[in-house]
Symmetry: C2
Subunit: 413 residues, 2 copies
């Protein structure tokens, strides 16, 4: 991991084995309900033994799935105790029936767990435009609740996958206001079932106690610095959901806005989400590389992000990354087409620490063999200096391979 | 061709064989100068026997090649008589030397043709960041000028190609203010040599006489309605150049702004450029399909274009087109992520005339077999109605295939 990413918190972070169930009071489980034709696990449940503060972030796509709409409503209440997630059918573009089905899932889970339906969040990923097979889900929910266990994080991480090639989980411990606090989470990345829609989920829990209203800003900021800096194909799902539960079992004095403890928790959340976001990009559809696009010297931070995103989403840059081709001209092109201010005569480009272009031209004595070697690795940085100001930002991207096209084009419904 | 595209002018347009040399007074030629390692033709020349009004449009990328900068300066003078174009090296990101080389090409061509260097436009496509092999170009220019012929349009169309699979030319005749006028052009699309940068050229000539200052607005509008509505991968070259020469040999009273004759010429230019733009998309890198994305019912025309572009550039939509998968959910996703106003419950989607989604949901009784049949063809329309207003626009796109990735990723320098 780039030491710059987690520097603020690195000194007092302990990475743990496991994921969301590393957090005290968190149980999880997963079962195969028969939503996925493959028969793989497709229904996951996360449960906190104590009611938790909740803050969540949802897709900004104007087309939103029914589970997103229902979870937005429930999250607004500020408390949650369970998250039920299905994979194989996204329950998007399903009209009134979709909303009814999503509500029913929260109601049934609430009844089984003896908690209010409004304390249950719901998320679904997979085929779009097709109603959920509610008969199968109704039949499976009692089994799902029975599957809950303090070791169930991994199973839940598996049950939310679609075309992901591996489950994604992470957990860490840090000191918050002098007390040990655990944060754990699971995530899934872009993928689809049959194939339909890329969707990103991240469910996180912590035993930290957080005051009413203090969690939202921290979660928004951590999401903005992690998942909002990750791109696989520039497309944006209708189902993206990040939810953080803080159940207070660490028995710390509830953290409040402006306090040092909340800043510590924020650093931990950002480190955890950054780790999960990078896992997600590295496992992007067809991806073989994880590349950080770092832009410095931009006229503003906003310009730095615009420039980094333009490079990170350019199909020509992404195919060059795949081909391990030190094609800095495509990076120049992608910078020039961005909405950021760019002066081609001031641009420098390096791969890791190896300079390739200086003042918009090929560096004299450039060591292209060394650059090709860097590009042969699985992870590296493309460092761009626009030479205009002090704006700085970073985006993670992956390469564009034939496999991406095969996954999304060839395996038709 | 979609009858809507050319309806205004279709009644009085005659499509001709050939391309730019179908226009009276236009000669063209091409030779192999040795810029391309393959030994294929790589230097093209277009010459008008009479000085012509010129209007040109160039890439809006902030990073511009040296030939673009020199041609912008020359086109500002309003008159031109020749266009020299090279393929195999784009002369982009080459600093002062690049500017000197581009200027020298116009100077040498001017001397050989006995016209001012400022009446020569220059365009280059290919490798970026590498200087032009000027020794080879200097040696080839006399041969290039000797190759000029009234049948040379095809050869010139070949000499500007990079990864294009076929030359692109078109010509038509129409009545302008009661006189027959010819318009002809050649174009090249996205492609690269080794591979580096996608570049689009279109060179057009007409024998119409156009008053000073009247051509610019007409060309800008035609470019906006044709090439600016075409996309292959959403990337934008540093070298894109469209130039139109009007040499007046039709001996009409010079066309002036606001007159019916100029509107007629404008319709002809738009029809010709539309035809070339569609040829360019159909021959996009790795493309197997040409698909029109038509958006109606948008809150504004600008919204219609934003929505159409978002669909046309979505990798998930483009891979579904490739896979012939009637995956309307991805179209909903791309609409929702666009900056256009979208209300998912008002969106309808059809493939040609076959409806798939109504009010944001799968149409009852949808005939997916019929949709798959339409998607099996080489050309079709995706017709989207946002149900919000009267804004309407259209973009042409192609599919994203493994071949695109191979062309741009695997054939490294």
């Amino acid at each position: 991991m780039n030491p710059r990413n987690s520097g603020r918190a690195a000194a007092d972070l302990d990475w743990l084995e496991g994921g969301i169930t590393a957090v005290p009071g968190i149980l999880a489980g997963g079962v195969a309900a028969g939503i996925k034709p493959s028969g793989k696990k497709d229904l996951a449940l996360i449960y906190s033994s104590a009611p938790a503060r909740v803050a969540a972030a949802f897709t900004s796509n104007q087309v939103k799935g029914a589970p997103v709409l229902v979870s937005m409503e429930h999250a607004r209440g500020g408390l949650a105790q369970a998250i039920v997630a299905s994979s194989g059918c996204s329950n998007v573009c399903t009209g009134e029936r979709g909303i009814r089905d999503a509500r029913e899932m929260t109601k049934l889970v609430g009844e089984l767990l003896r908690i209010p339906a409004t304390h249950v969040l719901v998320a679904s990923t997979g085929v779009i435009g097709v109603p959920l097979p509610m008969d199968k889900i109704r039949a499976a929910l009692p089994r799902l609740v029975k599957s809950l266990s303090p070791q169930g994080g991994r199973v839940a991480a598996e049950a939310i996958l679609t075309t992901d090639t591996r489950p994604k989980e992470a957990a860490l411990r840090l000191e918050v206001s002098g007390r040990p606090v655990t944060i754990g989470g699971i995530a899934k990345g872009v993928g689809m079932i049959e194939p339909h829609l890329a969707t990103m989920f991240c469910f996180v829990a912590t035993d930290a106690g957080v005051g009413r209203g203090a969690l939202g800003a921290v979660v928004r900021r951590a999401v903005d610095r992690s998942f909002n800096r990750a791109t696989v194909d520039g497309d944006q799902s209708t189902s993206d959901t990040v939810a953080v539960l803080a159940n207070g079992l660490a028995e710390n004095t509830p953290l409040e806005a402006g306090g040092r403890g909340l800043r510590q928790l924020a650093a931990g959340l950002e480190a955890l989400m950054t780790k999960l976001a990078r896992m997600l990009v590295a496992d992007g559809e067809g991806a073989t590389k994880l590349v950080s696009i770092t832009v410095r010297g931009a006229a503003s931070r906003r310009d730095a992000l615009l420039a980094a995103r333009s490079v990170a989403n350019s199909p020509l840059v992404k195919t060059a990354i795949y081909g391990q081709d030190p094609n800095w001209g495509r990076i120049m092109m992608a910078l020039g087409k961005s909405a950021a201010r760019v002066d081609q005569e001031k641009v420098s480009i390096a791969f890791n620490d190896e300079p390739v272009a200086v003042r918009g031209m090929l560096k004299e004595g450039v060591r292209l063999e060394r650059v090709r070697e860097i590009m042969g690795g699985q992870e590296y940085d493309i460092a761009i200096d626009l030479g205009l100001g002090r704006g700085e930002d970073r985006v993670w991207t992956c390469d564009l391979s034939e496999e991406y096209v095969r996954i999304n084009g060839k395996y038709t419904t």
